[in-house]
Amino acid sequence: MRILRINMSEETPSAKFEELGDYEGLGGRALTSAIISKEVDPLCHPLSADNKFVIAGGLLSGTAAAMSGRISVGCKSPLTGGIKEANAGGQAAQVMGKLGIAAIVLEGKPKTDDTYKIFINKEGVKIEKDNSLKMLPNYDLVQKMKNQYGDKIACISIGPAGDMKMSAASVAITDMEGRPTRHCGRGGVGAVMGSKGVKVIVLDDTGTTPRQPKDPEAFKDANKRFVAGLQKHPVTGQGLPAYGTNVLTNIINEVGAYPTYNFKEGKFAGARKISGEVQADLEKQRGGNPTHGCHRGCVIRCSGIYHDKDGNYLTKQPEYETVWALGGNCGIDDIDKIAMMDFLCDNYGLDTIEMGATIGVAMEAGLIKWGDADGAINLLHEVGKGTYLGRIIGNGAAFTGKAFGVERVPVVKGQAIPAYDPRAVQGIGVTYATSPMGADHTAGYSIALNVLKTGGFVDPLKPEGQVELSRNLQIATAFIDSTGMCLFIAFALLDQPETNQALIDMINAFYGWNMKDSEVMEYGKKVLKFERDFNTRAGFTKQHDRLPRFFYKEPIPPHNVVFMVKDEELDQLFNW
């Protein structure tokens, strides 16, 4: 496996392959964060030539390992000003792995505003100027690439939001059907790709074979045990396949942790109408599919395909956080309108969480009324067109809050807080406050234990035990994000030690390592150290590891609680 470095500063951008060297043994988030931490000036402007844009598959990408389709992108974030890793499913990680590429690093910046496409296959790398691609939405762009290179490609691309270098711009990854539906959403990573002048990276693995393990028999055996463990667990084997992630709407609402009307209340009257149960029924009725993988080799299949009222494809099955952000958070209870907004975000290349939180702030400002789905759709079109209003909205909740003089702005380190209120679930508040990524539920998903009773139970309404919970989850997540595995395997790993061991056995068999369970945690700590170190050098202090003050002052109904974890306790999170 090698690193492909592409220098975009040269008049004719050049590509060179190099060995992993010091980065040997790192994958996914570990690799993106190590490269950014070691090679990028933490004080650089995120859109400058000094920033780098890193794309990395995980340790097991391109192998026969089940669930190994996650891809990470990393850079200094234009949204948070700190280090960023955002990951997604789709086909690209596996194709990159089969091409023998551990990471693609886009360096420098074109001196003109030309747009480039990059084509990579087993013969090599072609970088071409193609200004006809500028401002194309993702779906049109990907279709154009398929017309040119055939249907079997995988694409990594940006939409107009990335072209315009907006801080809510995402990076799209094509799925099994070749649609740009899986997004490295958070932190404005699409803006950084856009600043490199790269619109799309087209990957073609024709003529390649999967990466081969050092010990094929042991690898095959471990993979078999791993898959059996996932299929046996009720969450990964039944719950997620049946309803997808949006099954969370009802339970988060029932425990009063569903932020609505821009984090003013913890229960939404319209929640049932936009729940995963309703969504799955509609998908079945309209000829869509509620049980579908986002990449080949997925055995959980929590994604799906959403059709409109006429039975035509509209978008992939919107995820829980998307339905919350663009729906419940804004007082919107029309699932078809929410699905349309999911499509628009994918097409324009936008983070659905950031957009939903931003529209909530815009509603708070009185720009449109609560529950106005058509108004919200119109705001997304404004972003796609790049009007002055759209450029405010497209730069996220914090920017929009400033533009319209709003006090209640739910962000940490400039990044919007997702779909779980940190007052009603104190553990996730600790993760939001302390993660080097800014507010990110996936960084340490305490909901698993605070609400879903997976891996144990920690009372969500009390501050006790939340720092330790978040710490352990953040460390374990940093490791899983480095393997290329979908984070959902964690539900089975938390409850079934034999499935956890199967994953470690699989990695050991592939690389010829002898990693122990305890070393997994050391691996995760190493990743977090890269990230914390970068942020410290970028100027972050412990005061940045805090929630907005209204979470400490305004009790949220129905539990009428505030965030109670003390600052001094938050400061202990990384003291392991």
């Binding site: 997620l240 049946a242 997808g244 339970i251 029932e254 149960e277 929590c302 956080e321 996936t442 609400v451």
Partner: protein, 82 residues
């Protein structure tokens, strides 16, 4: 006393019970009984894994219900990933 029972995530009762306009089960009880006992009475198609009583995740299923209590039942579920 009257209590409301909400079933989610594909849970269904294998008996007919009175329902409100939301489709939730309405149980009229003459005396307080334990949540665990109520769950048994429902004869559900799957065993509920998460039991919410008035918005709080219940650990002790011997807790007795009061008038106007709401119980929400879920099978094992999860999500939380964009």
């Amino acid at each position: 006393m009257r209590i409301i029972i909400k079933l989610f995530g594909g849970l269904k009762a294998n008996r007919d019970f009175p329902q409100n306009e939301e489709g939730d089960i309405v149980l009229e009880l003459s005396e307080p009984i334990a949540v665990g006992e109520i769950i048994e009475t429902l004869n559900l198609n799957k065993k509920p894994f998460i039991v919410i009583l008035n918005g709080v995740n219940l650990v002790d299923f011997s807790t007795k219900v009061k008038d106007r209590d709401e119980i929400s039942l879920f099978p094992p579920i999860a999500g939380g990933y964009r």
